[in-house]
């Protein structure tokens, strides 16, 4: 991998993140006065003015923006309007919880999606293939929050096996992770199936057969490394969606991650916290894409050659 490749990637990442924070900044300023939201209705004008000055909201938007960017470059993400805590710290306290939920959901989705998709592809047009794909379509079309509520109804209210909210134990993790991972896993299964079917029709699979490679060898050594390329692509592309749905899932299960913090911060117009969360989400997305790019080079020699500038 060339230095040029890394530099280009890095510049693009910075541009993306800058666009996100700028967009978020202006949309938030357009969406109403946080002071009016945060203070009770009956406070006097001086108090309102005091807070407006404290948070810099008395300045023109352009000036606010420049101050924000200046602070951001110095690593200062501002103070939460609600409780005067450092916004970054406030958010970072929640990050491990969301990472745990998202990571578990991702593992669940890949752990079920890839093997099921491949199994379906290898048994194409049989009853088992149709069964797996029906389940996948169902899991994919089921709205996330609805699945969460159904799970709570069944496993918490009826069977009383699992806690319906909170994050104290591993048991608490189970339903949110399944809720978040199901739709994702269903999509992965469908992509894995079509990737695998595509690969098994390729001429090099017949060459492997002609060499006398056994079924296991054909699958793991010849087919999977090729099928992995589109599967990795789609996983990388869909990670953003997973983060988006994490907000919903955290709300349904009262999971104390950044998703729930985000919904409450938006409701309260806690600008610094919202901006901070959006920045972290943007950085996560960009990093995920970068990891996918690296994985590409590792999986596909054609991509690797392009990056080294040879043809």
């Amino acid at each position: 991998m060339s230095v040029r490749f890394v530099i280009v990637k890095l510049l693009r990442a910075i541009l993306t993140i800058w666009l996100v924070v700028t967009f978020v900044f202006f949309v938030l300023r357009l969406s109403g006065d946080p002071v009016a939201q945060l203070l009770p209705d009956d406070v006097d004008k001086q108090t309102v003015q005091f807070y407006r000055e404290l948070w810099g909201l008395d300045q023109p938007v352009g000036v606010q923006y420049l101050r924000y960017i200046e602070a951001l470059l110095q690593g200062d993400l501002g103070i939460s309007f609600r409780n005067n805590l450092d916004a970054f710290q406030l958010v970072m306290e929640r990050v491990p919880k969301t990472a745990l939920l998202g990571g578990t959901a991702l593992l669940f989705a890949l752990g079920f999606g890839i093997p099921l998709g491949i199994y379906a592809a290898l048994h194409r047009d049989t009853a088992i293939d149709r069964a797996i794909m029906s389940v996948a379509v169902f899991g994919f079309s089921l709205p996330n929050f609805f699945l969460g509520i159904m799970l709570i109804l069944i496993f918490s209210l009826q069977l009383r096996w699992l806690p319906s909210s909170g994050s104290g134990t591993w048991w608490h993790l189970l339903m949110p992770a399944v809720t978040l991972g199901t739709g994702f896993g269903a999509q992965i299964a469908r992509y894995a199936r079509s990737a695998m079917i595509d690969v098994t029709n390729r001429a090099y699979m017949r060459t492997a057969e002609a060499k006398g490679a056994g079924q296991t060898r054909k699958l793991y050594v010849h087919a999977l490394p090729n099928a992995a390329i589109p599967i990795v692509t789609i996983t990388g592309m869909k990670i953003g969606e997973l983060l988006g749905w994490a907000v919903v899932t955290e709300t349904v299960f009262a999971w104390p991650g950044i998703g729930r913090l985000l919904t409450s911060a938006v409701a309260m117009r806690d600008l610094a916290v919202v901006q901070c969360i959006m920045l972290i989400l943007a950085v996560t997305m960009v990093s995920a894409n970068f990891i996918v790019d690296l994985a590409y080079g590792w999986l596909d020699p054609r991509v690797r050659a392009q990056r080294q500038g040879e043809r």
Binding site: R202, A203, Y204, R206, T207, A208, E209, A210, K211, G212, A213, V221, H222, P225, N226, I229, L299, D300, P301, R302, A305, E310
Partner: protein
Amino acid sequence: MAPVLAAQGLSVAISTRDGRTVTPVRNISLALDAGETLAIVGESGCGKTMTCLALSGLLPRRAQVTATSLTLAGEDLATLDRRRAREVRRQRLAVVFQDATNGLNPVKSVGWQVAEAVRLRAGGSRAAASAEAQRLIGRVGLPDPARIMRAYPHQLSGGMNQRAMIALAVAGNPDVLVADEATTALDVTVQAQILTLIAELQREVGMGVVFVTHDLGIVAQIADRVAVMYAGRIVESGPVGEIFAAPRHPYTAGLIASLPRIDRRERDLSVIEGQVPPIDAMPDGCAFAPRCQRAADDCRRTSPPLARLGGVHAACLHPLREMA
């Protein structure tokens, strides 16, 4: 000496999705001696590739391959179970296909793929297989074998990939090489080089070669014997010299007449009128009768068997006379 590969009454039947059965290969017999080259020629759709795949055991499971006998290096594959038959083929028979660039795995280095073939056919350690792979890559005329070992198929030309495919095929010295249109996609000059390479390797290793092609020019150049296929059957077979000099089957004669010749300028090439009948609508009697100028009423009733005519075998009720 017993032939290294011999098929008696080989047929391929495929059940289609709508429950019918088509038979792209019908009751063909052929034999190949060690060191000999047998060419199978015919138009697209005549069943020559199906024959190849049936011999190599590469047809999908829903294709039914039947044969009264199918011997490879002394073992009758028709009587062996699937697994054992595969084992015999793996050690004895190699295949080279038309499109080498797609026939090689894009995410594996060429060296790895050749070494894998060495290990699968001959066994041995990884290091030994790798060394043998490098020797083979050099042997098939690829420059700088150490570099080619590390190269990936997309970095090589079609001709180079076909050489790599041949290295992969001759790894571990198979008894039979089946080449299905192995030079069709290549430039004429590269084609000639590849043909020469196959002939050289054939002499070195003493393997029999089944060369499937639609190109009669290649047949004349490399084959010892030729089998002409039409609509799933062999209609004529025999030594190349005799068949080219005096074809007995009207179809063979038509094929030879339709060859463009560099030493003659003809306004119109001779063509065989009509088309191969569709596989699911074979006429009764001789399948070539609808296109045949010599066809008589009996041709449309009875399907002629392959019969000895002088030095060749032909399946025709009204064959051309010798030196017609």
